[in-house]
């Protein structure tokens, strides 16, 4: 069977894309990422300040932002260190808080399978809420993978501002205003919700997102917001899948033309 018609093998050559379309999509990616840069920078500053208050040296705070590079668990760890908790408790909490990355990695795996193993090693370390959100929307917008787009999303919009702000925060935190006063704490949820809207191009996505929200809030209130997010991310897609094809306004899988089931490298996931 010809390799380019197989669904289970990466294409040998990705379909060429109009450079003007690629440039426009990357421009949009940078614009979308601008708000997240502000968010990452604002909260990176606060992390630097929090770390300093918790007794971290600048090297330790910077090590957290470079090596762990996961905001929620960094804040939690700083609080626990300040509270005198032992390392085992902090490490276990970190694993739980960051478990949601498994979903992101799984969702991006089909797109990034054409990249070298070494590149994927690095891409994995840079995978955050923001990188996943921006890259998913960018790939879907293009209808194919764009590795440069992933680097822009992961490094440009998050890694650099987060680490730069950590350094500034830990060295000169006393001069920094509270991001809440400027309304910057709303940037993150607004960006996540807006990017979710960008991924909704069918009724299944709307159902998945709606059920995800309900689960997230309900389970978050019962247990913990982080558990709620993971539950919403797991249960929402199940609800979307459970929707009958007729209600979703799409033909049954067997009736779909082959092109709609194309390889992400060749023409995009079905959308």
């Amino acid at each position: 069977m010809r390799r380019d018609l197989r669904q289970d093998l990466p294409a040998l050559t990705a379909t060429r894309i109009d450079p003007a379309v690629l440039r426009a999509a990357r421009r949009q990616l940078v614009i979308d990422g601008t708000g997240l840069v502000a968010s990452a920078f604002g909260f990176g500053l606060v992390f630097g300040l929090t770390a300093r208050s918790a007794g971290f040296s600048p090297i330790e705070a910077i090590a957290f932002s470079v090596i762990v590079f996961a905001g929620a668990s960094q804040f939690a760890a700083a609080g626990l260190v300040a509270g005198g908790f032992g390392w085992p408790a902090i490490v276990v909490l970190t694993a739980l808080v960051n478990g949601r990355h498994l979903l992101y990695s799984a969702a991006l795996a089909p797109w990034l399978r054409g990249e070298s193993f070494v590149k994927r090693l690095v891409m994995a370390h840079l995978l955050t809420d923001e990188a996943f959100a921006l890259a998913s929307v960018h790939f879907r917008r293009l209808g194919r993978v764009d590795p440069a787009g992933y680097w822009i999303a992961a490094i440009g919009s998050t890694f650099i501002p987060w680490n730069l702000a950590t350094i500034i925060g830990v060295l000169g935190g006393q001069f920094i205003p509270d991001p809440r006063v400027l309304g910057l704490d709303i940037v993150y949820p607004a960006a996540m919700a807006g990017l979710a809207v960008g991924l909704m191009n069918g009724r299944r996505e709307v159902v998945a997102a709606t059920v995800g929200v309900i689960c997230s809030v309900a389970i978050g209130l019962l247990l913990d917001p982080r558990v709620g997010v993971i539950a919403g991310g797991l249960i929402g897609p199940l609800a979307g899948l459970a929707m009958p094809a007729r209600m979703a306004g799409e033909p049954r899988l067997a009736e779909q033309p082959l092109a709609e089931l194309a390889d992400p490298l060749d023409g995009g996931l079905p959308s």
């Binding site: 090297i59 478990g99 994995a124 978050g220 709620g228």
Partner: protein, 112 residues
């Protein structure tokens, strides 16, 4: 300058990296059946909407109390932002609108 907590950072990275890397690096993970790929395609909107909702509506618990429902100006700001994004397809404009609503409400003493 103290470097003792660098070890803690390494341990935290050690437990974080597998969740980021295993699906990306596992051979064959990309050759899932169409139904599984369809599920993964729906993870994006579901998890991003869940993240936003948890941030807006749920206040994390403290040592003495569990998580609490929070209904403030934030949901209004994000609702307006999402409407603008869906209408104009402009994320940055949506974020700016949300910031203006929240910062404005707080400045006027209408929100905490």
């Amino acid at each position: 300058m103290s470097t003792g907590l660098v070890g803690l950072a390494l341990l935290m990275a050690l437990v974080t990296y597998p969740s980021r890397a295993i699906p990306l690096l596992t051979p064959g993970f990309d050759r899932l059946p169409p139904r599984a790929l369809e599920y993964l395609r729906l993870v994006g909107p579901a998890v991003l909407a869940s993240l936003a909702a948890a941030q807006i509506f749920v206040t994390p618990g403290t040592a003495g109390s569990g998580p609490a429902l929070h209904v403030g100006v934030e949901w209004l700001a994000v609702g307006a932002s999402v409407t603008l994004v869906a209408w104009r397809r402009n994320l940055l404009a949506g974020i700016v609108l949300a910031v203006v609503i929240v910062a404005g409400a707080r400045a006027l003493g209408l929100a905490a």
